[in-house]
């Protein structure tokens, strides 16, 4: 059994990713030099370079997460699935905002978000002093392979 999570990438999200590369490496040329010097011994540098170069040239981007680990079914409790559905359909400003909207205890919501984020199901973005949760997936499929 596997779960396929298709992550949504808006133009703004891709812009944020490119800005993050800019902040992390300075220029694309300096990253290219690092990749060449290291002779592609660092998967992170190489993958970041390929992503940065091609996304900045307008390549179509598809981001998929496949979970074959059966432990994910422990993570996907009914309350967490309900939270995920809420986040897929609503925008919230903070974890507090989410807990109020769901009428649930703040700590339980926080713990559930952390559990979901481990598999990349939710993103927690810093927004001022708060963390803003959002659904990372636009589609989640569960399938059983023969």
């Amino acid at each position: 059994m596997k779960i396929k999570i298709v992550k949504k990438w808006k133009t703004r999200d891709i812009g944020d990713m490119l800005a993050a590369f800019d902040k992390k490496y300075g220029t694309m040329n300096s990253l290219q030099q690092k990749v060449l010097i290291s002779k592609c011994t660092s998967p992170e540098l190489m993958n970041d370079y390929v992503l940065w170069k091609n996304l900045s040239q307008g390549a179509e981007f598809q981001d998929i997460i496949i979970v074959k680990d059966p432990d994910i079914f422990d993570t996907l409790s009914p309350k967490r699935v309900e939270m995920l559905e809420f986040l897929m359909n609503n925008e919230v400003k903070s974890i507090r905002h989410l807990s109020t909207s769901l009428r649930r205890n703040y700590k339980n919501v926080y713990d559930d978000l952390n559990a979901l984020s481990k598999y990349g199901l939710v993103d927690l973005t810093a927004s001022g002093r708060a963390l803003r949760p959002s659904a990372a997936a636009s589609r989640i499929e569960v399938s059983i392979d023969a």
Binding site: C40, T41, P43, N47, V50, A59, E60, Q62, K68, D69
Partner: protein, 100 residues
């Protein structure tokens, strides 16, 4: 151009991260890395298959992220890599690169 990033969780703390760049249906670049999450919660590469510079090869790391060996190999699809990882998993570190 189509860029696909796929992260496949094969176990609780083990993942294959793949980046594939396609142009008109042809794969121009691929990189498939088997990573293990360490106690510090960071991801450490164990084995990587890629075709950087159009040279398909496999890299083996030492368990702390330092590359120790690199050998040419046949082109590997993500399915090939997932099959290998599914069979050998953590034993990949002690295997001969020629077997991969």
């Amino acid at each position: 151009m189509k860029l696909t990033r796929q992260r496949t969780w094969v176990h609780r703390n083990e993942m294959v991260e793949s980046i594939v760049l396609e142009d008109s249906g042809k794969i121009k670049f691929y990189s498939h890395t088997y990573l293990v999450r360490t106690k510090g919660r960071s991801w450490t590469p164990y084995v990587k298959w890629d075709n950087w510079d159009r040279q398909p090869h496999v890299d083996k790391f030492d368990g702390s992220g330092v590359m120790v060996e690199q050998k040419p190999c046949n082109e590997k699809s993500l399915d090939d890599v997932l099959k290998l990882v599914g069979i050998f998993r953590k034993n990949l570190l002690s295997m001969e690169l020629s077997q991969l």
